[in-house]
Amino acid sequence: MRQLVRIASWLYAVLIYGFIFLPVVVLVLFSLQATSFPIPPFTGPSLRWYDAVLSDTRLTSALVNSLLVASISSLAAVTLGFLSAWGFARFVLPGSGLLRGLITLPLTVSYLIIGMGLLVLFNWAGVPKSLLAAGIGHVVINLPLCFAIIYSQMGDHQINIERAARDLGAPEWKVLLLITVPVMTPAIFAGFFLSMTFSWDEFVISFLLTRFDTTLPVEIWNLLRSGLNPKTNAVGSLVFAVSIVLVVFFELTLLRRKPA
């Protein structure tokens, strides 16, 4: 009987993980296909489609664009998120609870709505469709996330540390730069890498807000319109690999606890 339970639980685990990862495995497997269609039978392994991706200037420039948008927008989101978290944690503000709610609200709104809103706003304000516009969109979706992560880690026990620095003669900007930021490093990095991951994968907002220069997910979508081919698998695998790297960084920074 116990044996049976063991087998059943193993089977359950395999099914769950299979359900989650089988599509990715198939994607990666057929990116190594040697022939022109990503359908069985498997004919590889071959790196010819990776070669094709990397020699496609549209795809490589989209990849560079994506990295630029992701890193710059995440930097902006984490900076603004940190400053707002610090403000909320350290100062008594009128309507603090309501304002905190408002700042995290975009987390619950669909990207499509945010993208459409920004599109209308940018049209009205005369901001052309561009990578900058998409980057601003990514700041809108990632700032609440960075705020939430950093705010949750900003406890009262750091107040005395900041006070001690002030007491020893540090002006406010040095307190922030030399004390608060280093102490908050794990949360700040976690916010940054998670923002990078989300920005890197984001499609709807980029699709709505870019035109000629665009990000990788939008370029992949363009590619898909001409039908499936192992090149899309290869570029998808690359996207997946980058995401994995970012998530691993996130896990290492936030989840690793320092010895007390």
């Binding site: 005395n160 540390i161 007491d167 010895p259």
Partner: protein, 354 residues
């Protein structure tokens, strides 16, 4: 007489509706070790925060070295604070922590390191320079916090219950060291605590606070022997309190009627006024060898052996609401249930007139 180092003048402070300090005035002399002693909620920590610049008082002024510092921020006033939780910078080495104040003053790295090492040597932690705070024990972190605050040579060092988080043995040991360090550097220390033993051991000047006011201040010997108020008689050490009314007064003697009989005191008091008499536990005499003031008999309710002495609680046979607290030698044979005569000596009765 030199000007006081710190002059707190009629300071009051409110947090919202709640008044935590009520018209407090206090002077602190250079080179003194001042203890602010009081229960939690007495306003002692708020007073320390006002001195450190973390709180600006609602009313009143604070002068340090003759300058009005009432609303000068912590960074710009000649005080440093040792926080209760030490508040060391976790990402910096011990040397970096101690040198931080000098770094803020723009002192170059080499001088900074030399001075930080010197300050660490002063607190007996010369070897810890390169360690991180989390590698140190509680007592060691305490010393680092002390070195970090002393290295920039403040006019006044503020200590917020610095020994509160340490175990008893370490606390007594650090107490002796604090006193020794204070004598060596000569900086004025202001130390907040609720531990009266700590206060008596350390203070040159002891300030007893309660409910936002200063109840009593002076050398600890004086505060203990002649407390000014009922509160300081019961908070700074224990006392048995007798309430009474003055019934007779001749030129230098007054008779006070208490529930356990008349007590004659060698002072002139207005007839009809109500007074309280406090007697320290070590001054109560139990049994036959009675003192000159008889306080009736009492039934012993509890005997607690404390090592070097026995703490005896007894309930008066005449007035059941009156509890005597006495301290007897460890060899005393008294037991719960015994009925004993209680007396004391006139000159050891403390008169409280508040």
């Amino acid at each position: 007489m030199s000007a006081p180092l710190v002059d707190i003048s009629s300071v009051s402070h409110r947090f919202g509706q709640h008044t935590v300090l009520k018209d407090v005035s206090l002077r602190i002399e250079p080179g003194s070790y001042t203890i602010l002693l009081g229960p939690s909620g007495s306003g002692k920590t708020t007073l320390l925060s006002i001195l450190g610049g973390f709180v600006t008082p609602s009313e009143g002024k604070v002068f340090i070295r003759g300058e009005d510092c009432t609303s000068v921020p912590p960074a710009k006033r000649p005080t440093t604070t040792v926080f209760q939780d030490y508040a060391l910078f976790p990402h910096m080495s011990v040397g970096g922590n101690v040198g931080f104040g000098l770094r803020m003053q723009g002192v170059d790295g080499a001088t900074r390191a030399a001075k930080a090492r010197e300050a660490l040597a002063l607190v007996g932690l010369a070897a810890a320079f390169d360690k991180k705070p989390h590698q140190l024990s509680g007592g060691q972190r305490q010393r680092v916090a002390l070195a970090r605050a002393l290295v920039i040579e403040p006019a006044v060092l503020l200590l917020d219950e610095p020994l509160g988080a340490l175990d008893l043995k370490l606390r007594r040991q650090m107490q002796d060291e604090l006193k020794a360090i204070q004598k060596r550097v000569g900086t004025a220390f202001i130390h907040v605590t609720h531990d009266q033993e700590e206060a008596m051991a350390l203070a040159d000047h002891c300030v007893v606070m309660n409910d936002g006011r200063i109840e009593d201040e002076g050398p600890p010997e004086r505060v203990y022997a002649r407390p000014a108020t009922r509160f300081s008689a019961t908070f700074m050490g224990e006392s048995t309190i007798l309430a009474g009314t003055v019934t007779e007064a001749k030129d230098r003697t007054s008779i006070v009627a208490t529930p356990v009989g008349p007590v004659s005191l060698p002072v002139a008091l207005p007839v009809g006024s109500t007074v309280e008499l406090a007697i320290r536990p070590e001054h109560l005499v139990l049994g036959e060898t009675s003192g000159d003031v008889r306080l009736g008999t009492a039934e012993v309710s509890d005997v607690v052996f404390q090592g070097s002495f026995k703490r005896v609680l007894a309930v008066s046979a005449q007035v059941p609401s009156l509890h005597f607290i006495a301290r007897l030698p460890a060899t005393a044979t008294v037991q719960p249930g015994d009925t004993v005569a209680i007396s004391c000596h006139t000159d050891q009765i403390i008169l409280l007139t508040d």
